[in-house]
């Protein structure tokens, strides 16, 4: 494990009943690195990134996030969740709270920030994702793209050291995909460490330091984008690329 490592997977395996979803995963991500994860449906991409903030529990191997090992220890889990932001395919905004309240909730209750400070912080991020004029609306009054940008702002308000994205644009109408990707590109340019499950290969080419290809619970290859697209090693990668490109 090197010094800059912020995510460290060592021989991680996980089963749902008899079915092995993750098969001996080894992965190390450094601070500031942007990783795109792709692979066929059911290959374990979501499960892998959900292990990073313990929404899923791994059964074998070792996961260390920002110096904290994920075990059954609740304190460790809380520590990690505070530092890791997550954006979901279905947004998962809290429908009974305004956009602003969605964003200030965790800073106020988890970080114990005074309300005024939390509001100021939230407004800064909401401005950054360009929905500062919608902050008093409720999630269901916003378009899908706006909701996803609000969800990104909500995660950023915890000032995480690392952001996870699980297919953030898959539930969006095509015309809204770009507005969300633009926000993510901006975030990448600011140096955020990002792990993104996506099939947006344009985004991967532009932003990723490495592309991780998964199949049947294994990491088949992990390479820089140019290498990955021009020089795939395994037949499974070639087949996958031929299907999506």
């Amino acid at each position: 494990m090197n010094q800059d490592s912020i995510i460290y997977f060592e021989n991680v395996s996980k089963w749902f009943g008899d079915f092995q979803v993750l098969n001996n995963i080894n992965l190390e991500v450094n601070k500031g690195e942007k990783i795109v994860v792709c692979g066929p449906s059911g290959s374990g991409k979501s499960t892998m990134i959900r292990c990073i903030n313990r929404l899923e529990e791994h059964q074998e191997g070792k996961i260390i996030v920002d110096g904290t090992e994920l075990t059954g220890n609740v304190k460790n889990i809380d520590t990690v969740r505070r530092e890791v932001g997550m954006v979901f395919q279905q947004f998962n905004l809290f429908p009974h709270l305004s956009i602003l309240d969605n964003c200030t909730l965790a800073p106020i209750w988890v970080r114990k920030m005074p309300k005024a400070d939390a509001t100021e912080l939230a407004m800064r991020y909401l401005k950054r994702v360009q929905i500062e004029d919608q902050v008093h609306k409720y999630p269901n009054q916003l378009s899908g793209g706006q909701q996803q940008r609000a969800a990104i702002a909500r995660a950023l308000c915890m000032q995480p050291r690392l952001m996870l994205f699980d297919e953030p644009t898959s539930a969006l109408d095509p015309e809204m995909i770009k507005e969300v990707l633009d926000v993510m590109i901006g975030l990448a340019q600011d140096g955020m460490t990002m792990l993104v499950v996506t099939h947006e290969m344009g985004f991967a080419k532009e932003v990723a330091d490495r592309i991780v290809f998964m199949d049947e619970g294994q990491i088949v290859e992990a390479k820089a984008p140019t290498e990955f697209f021009e020089n795939p090693e395994s037949d499974r990668t070639k087949l996958f690329l031929s299907q999506i490109l």
Binding site: D78, R81, R82, F94, P95, H96, A106, V110, H136, K137
Partner: protein, 350 residues
């Protein structure tokens, strides 16, 4: 409004519709005037006993003669101001919990917390107040004490039970399941019996818990078990993504439930919760089996009085009206709450 057009479109839009309208009008016209005659115009309001009611209408004199008992049971007359004070303060004890735009709500909320203790002190007595044994309580006093007390105290308990049942800790969830299923599996009447007949057998001699309190405990656990299942239904309807988003933000178990899950889950269970509350409020009449006389019990006692015999209809109409006022109030409140919570989500600024 009731314009010619409205009438035509709604009441006479087709042949069948017109026939139904005409039949209904005929039906109402032949029912309502005699009903009003009996209820009001030909009723006797004041009389010394049954024989004083000579008119064809209702004999409301029985209600007047027994009004004190209907309101207070057998509470001593010289202490009845205490009950009146409890009644008078009731709106201030309950409204701040129900109405979020109440003027001076913050101050009243503090009062709402004090109110239950005040009620106990005033009704039972204590330092500076003569003790009034609870077997003297009755009528509306007892109905409200058991009904409202049961509903309000059981509400937080049912939330804990529902959360407990869904807990990932097997011991907690097992305890909650057993409790809920056991209580739901038996009628309230047996719980009341159990409380009043069996409990004293298990308690050390000399330690005597008051009958009304035992009934209150029975009512609370009964309502808590029913409420728990309603709340659990609401919890189950919550999408998994809400839990995951809350956890991913680092919220603790209680923060997640208090801030994210319960506000949404309770909102969708309001109609069902109010439904069980109304059911319980009416079921408090069962305390008659353990010798307590609530509103209904007092009514039956009045009917047994030879001076007033055979005035069943008057007594039951009166009791029904009182129950109706409260239950209708609950149901209107639930509608108000649903509407309020919905508009909160739709309007741009709260």
């Amino acid at each position: 409004m009731l314009s010619f057009n409205w009438i035509r479109q709604n009441l006479f839009s087709s042949w069948t519709n017109s026939i139904i309208t005409v039949v209904l009008i005929y039906f109402l016209a032949s029912i309502i005037p005699p009903m009003f005659d009996w209820l009001f115009f030909e009723a006797t309001w004041i009389a010394d006993d049954r024989t004083g009611c000579t008119s064809d209408g209702a004999c409301w004199a029985i209600i007047g003669a027994r009004f004190y008992q209907f309101m207070y049971g057998f509470y001593p007359t010289e202490e009845v101001w205490r009950v009146n004070l409890v009644y008078a303060l009731l709106p201030f004890g309950i409204l701040p919990l129900l109405w979020d735009k109440m003027p001076f709500r913050k101050q009243f909320l503090i009062f709402a917390i004090v109110y239950p203790f005040l009620v106990f002190f005033l009704l039972y007595g204590g330092p500076g107040l003569t003790a009034v044994a609870s077997n003297k309580w009755g009528g509306l006093l007892l109905t409200l004490f058991l009904g409202l007390g049961g509903i309000i105290i059981a509400f937080p308990l049912s939330i804990f039970l529902a959360l407990g049942r869904r807990s990932e800790m097997p011991a907690i969830s097992a305890i909650c399941v057993v409790f809920i299923e056991f209580i739901r599996g038996v009628p309230l009447i047996t719980l009341l019996f159990f409380g009043s007949m069996m409990l004293p057998l298990f308690l050390p001699e000399g330690l005597d818990i008051d009958t009304v309190l035992r009934a209150l405990v029975a009512v609370i656990i009964f309502q808590a078990a029913y409420g728990a299942e309603v709340v659990r239904g609401g919890l189950q309807a919550m999408p998994k993504g809400q839990y995951e988003a809350a956890q991913a933000l680092g919220l603790s178990y209680w923060q997640m439930n208090l801030k994210i899950i319960l506000p949404q889950a309770l909102k969708i269970t309001i109609p069902a919760l109010v439904n069980t509350a109304i059911g319980l409020f009416k079921d408090t009449s069962l305390v008659i089996v353990i010798g307590l006389l609530d509103l209904l019990g007092i009514g039956r006692a009045a009917l047994a009085d030879t001076k007033w015999m055979a005035l069943h209809v008057e007594v039951y109409v009166f009791i029904s009206v009182i129950f109706f006022i409260f239950c209708f109030g609950f149901s209107r409140y639930s509608l108000y709450l649903e509407k309020k919570l919905n508009t909160d989500n739709d309007s741009e600024n709260k």
